[in-house]
Symmetry: C5
Subunit: 300 residues, 5 copies
């Protein structure tokens, strides 16, 4: 497979970048991202409550899944990686550089989230700790009073990551009082284009809905094309039925042109064994070119 | 005892980090933190008034207690340490890096508190002065317009502390108009998870109350589990009856899973001798595995 | 042709600056700037929809045009250049350093756009990648609460560009509630003077309209004279009829004294072949001293 | 006399710090601070008008006083010191690092004042110019939206000053809509504690009043005790009768426990000769242990 | 003539500072400043319109005047100097470091203007280009929410200028809703004192008016005395009759104690030849000790 190496990857880091991309995507250029940044983004809502197994309340649950399942990368905050990484050395990590809580509704205050540590810190940490850190992630919100800061920080992060041979994944969400419908396909295509202009390797976006609020893979094509060489990852969202999830995932990739997914709750809100199977099924479709049928078999 | 050494502790600082953790917790991994940052946080309210002995009005009172009693660490501002430290060299210090006053009600302006000096300043100071500085502390408020700045600063402080072999303790309080109940157990568990994501060694939190406003150690378990490898410290709060205090403290640790406490007023708002005894009793339960009965004996 | 070399161009970079200016303007001092920063500025509105060919939805469309047509410079964001640059090495690039989305109406929030990466980053990138980067671009909005930041950043960018032998192009737009008419000739002349005071090589401005809302090349002369040695580029705007466009362009230069144009939609909202022809026609008038008639022939 | 040397004074600067403290307090640890920063703080109100001698309108008036009288330190802005210092080399200076004007009422906008130059600038200046600079000063306002910035800047300034062997004096004023009574003794004690937590050598505060608005030295004791090893300086305020002033000053020190005063208008709003005498009288009580009677003789 | 050399001028730059001051003031310590920063401050209003000769619309007009007339310094933005400086090498320049537009009324938004480039940039530029740069200028507005930033930036600029042997001129204007009358003499004296506290060499201020709105040189004395060793320059204002202008200028200096003027429109809003004569007349009174009569002769 031929990879698109961004021109801002340092010459001495091209092979490392290639290795990171190849390993994270199983050589398919499609990324299964196990999203584990919700302990800040959603506080404890995703980890404790009705229909959530008690073990999910411990941060270690996600590390166990990430360590036992096939995944592309496990995206979580630096602090958790520094606390658990030594015991889960086989996990491919993506350091989520920023996060915010959900305490303030989006319509009450324009969301803002700054990077917690720098790409340079991550690079040093990877070298010192020997952990397998494949990239960094950053969330930016378009449409609010802090857009300028987040666009600027995102661009620098992507560039720094590339210079150091790391992958850069952006979470991009238009938000605020001037955004009528977050699932509008044209708007999502706009966000995809912003990710491309920022030079991201992958951009995690909402999934477009039709007028009835249903996913339609055709609507997705505007965004995946607008993203150009930046791969679009579809957001996993709240936990739903496995078959529905996997069928939609298959359509996103094979009909909609997405290049992967970012899934959290649909994986970790299960007992460890089930969670590992679900992760493997998602990985099979995303990065092993499996059919839905083949993937469903993995759940058995 | 086996300690969890964060992977971001510099290789050359691992033994120092271990020593700090071991000494601060008496080898139990449970921390008794003597909280002495209220001269800014509460101005003079905690130190002068009805039922407070006059000697508490002098900052030196706390240093005398910290020097004579068994404690894990004495947490206070850098300026006080620089003024009194030479005369109280046996005290294990934790430099509280930020503080704000209580002049503005939380519902009138989102609280914001920046670090006063850097971790690097503290490291240099410890080396120059020879004082026994075991770590740094930082308060962050979730849910306001400054959340992004404080999350970012907290993450950097934890990382810098670890790189230098120091402990990092975070005080985390959800505040502001979108926080209905600061003593809600699910919310506190969310804050605990934020502390874990930030990589803190310990996180000082409010104590969860049930619907009648009473402490229930079972409610605490959601938070202590969500905190993962980050130890939760229960806030000491306003001065109450000794027996009630110690009984609750025991329950927090042994039933609720907390890994210590941060206590100020319940210690220093007493004449020196009594304050030292109370500190010793708290320490006994927290870091010497004493029963309530054993601890109460120390008050005699 | 004698060029005006700004006195802040580093002595060792004078020949590079001259080369950049000469090549970008085909030795005419008139610049045809192919504007391709709309993926952020207008999200996906300019690239997908009724009357827009589907191929325009891919960012690569613009690179194909820029590579096949005669242009002065292709102005787009760094991330896109880093993604496509290796495959389009013959393109003369101008890195647009900042961009904002159109989600918030100008009258609801004063527009603000910060540079994404520094001029130094661009200089290093050009050296490392071997791409032909001729300059940098920056948009600033006058009249809002962020004017001071953008003026300051613009001035530094122009100076840094010059020190490094690069061209500096500013997009200057008065905006906000105190701007009654963005097409007022006197106001545009003021913006031109700001560009001159900032030392820009070229300044891209709105085109002045008369009271009937029509372009009048005489009105343009106030601005082009006020710009002094800074060349004024006329904004291309929404796609219109080719002949009308080219006739107006000719008048802007030959009657109005403009020194070029910045055109995006009138080029890229066409199938590749047509787009290339249109770009060539614009280039012919701007930088090859062609008549409208000669230019129109190129569209055949 | 044994001095309290803060532990953050650099080892190589301890003797310099001691010398500065000793000379500034005449070996008494009590500081007479001649306050001359009002040209910014009060614009020209304190220097020109009814009952003010014309000579006070020239900045040089204060330098003449400072040079001819006995004083602890003369606190004024860097710019004035750089303009007049060469001609008044015998004056012990304290560089007031920040200042704001009085144009905006405190209840209309939370006050904010940043340092103008750094402690490092002052240190270099002292070395280069040979002037006798004994310390630096900084004003901070508690209770407003900028409290966090000023607390942080103040802490850094105190620490930098100490590292360089300089004294650090803080002016601390609770202000804003949540401060009901600036002369409330408990509030002033709170501000004193903040000064102590910041590690200041001296803290200049308002004087507490009783319910009738009169000074009562007993009320002062809460604050001077809360200040700990940080010396409290009482604000001089508007010009009043000499005998009343000196009697109150004596009571502040000998009954209230203050360690000096910061006096401006009561000195400089007099013809030179009288001003010098008044300064000498204040100095006698503050730093020469004189009685009121002895001090009054100096006014003859 | 003996000059007051600020103590913060670097030892190795004293002779350069002296040379700059001497040449700029023709050895009189009185400065004729030709103000040419209005292309930003007033956009194109001062350069194009009824009663303004067309040639004034080109920025080069001011350079021609500055080059042909006797002036102290020509104050304009860096960008214009970098564009025209090579062709007007005999001009003594003062780089105006900041500027803002007039698009927003002062009562709608507190004015704010940041420096565009640093003093260090100017110093390097002067060395590289060989241009005769005698100093830097900066405008600050007192009384608004940005006062703290501008005071701080102004102080640093003055200090940096002095360290490098350059003159520092401040434009100081109290503005905003709490400023009732910008021409009040007492207020202007306050601004003069702020300039002195900032250590400026010269401070450009509004001219005080009496109750009838007329200039009265006696009112000026409060300000010129309050400015101390900082020379007060009177603002030139809108174009008026030559004789009236020169008579008032003479009175400002000889009766009011001002040390010069900052004049723009009264010079450049004339055809080149007349403009040069007017500049020479102003220079004669300011820096050649001419009478009004002598100066008027120069206009013939």
């Amino acid at each position: 497979m031929k990879y698109n190496i961004p021109a801002d990857v340092d010459k001495n880091r091209v092979s490392q970048y290639k290795k990171n991309l190849k390993e994270a995507t199983n050589g398919t250029n499609h990324l299964m991202l196990f999203a584990g940044d919700q302990k800040v983004e959603h506080l404890n809502n995703d980890f404790y409550g009705k229909d959530i197994p008690l073990e999910d309340n411990s941060p270690e649950h996600m590390f166990k899944i990430a360590s036992s399942a096939k995944i592309g990368v496990f995206a979580t905050q630096f602090g958790l990686i520094s606390r658990y990484g030594r015991d889960y050395k086989n996990v491919p990590y993506l350091v989520k550089l920023n996060s915010k809580t959900n305490l303030i509704p989006y319509d009450k205050q324009d969301p803002y989230s700054q990077s917690w540590i720098s790409v340079g810190d991550v690079v040093n940490f990877a070298k010192e700790s020997g952990l397998d850190i494949k990239g960094v992630g950053y969330t930016l919100y378009l449409g609010g009073e802090h857009e300028h800061s987040m666009l600027s920080e995102a661009a620098k992060i992507v560039h720094e990551a590339h210079k150091n041979g790391l992958l850069a994944v952006l979470w991009i969400y238009p938000k605020g009082k001037f955004v009528k419908d977050e699932h509008d396909g044209h708007l999502i295509a706009g966000a995809a284009g912003v990710g491309a202009a920022l030079g991201a390797d992958f951009v995690k976006l909402k999934v477009p809905y039709d007028k009835e609020g249903k996913f339609d893979s055709k609507l997705l094509r505007e965004a995946t094309m607008a993203a150009g060489r930046t791969g679009m990852l579809c957001e996993g969202g709240a936990k739903i039925d496995e078959k529905v999830f996997l069928t939609e995932l298959y359509a996103q990739i094979h009909k909609g042109g997405s290049r992967g997914n970012g899934t959290g709750r649909n994986i970790h809100q299960r007992p460890l064994k089930e969670a590992v199977k679900m992760a493997n099924a998602i990985y099979a479709i995303t990065s092993e070119n499996a059919t839905v049928k083949e993937a469903l078999k993995l759940l058995k």
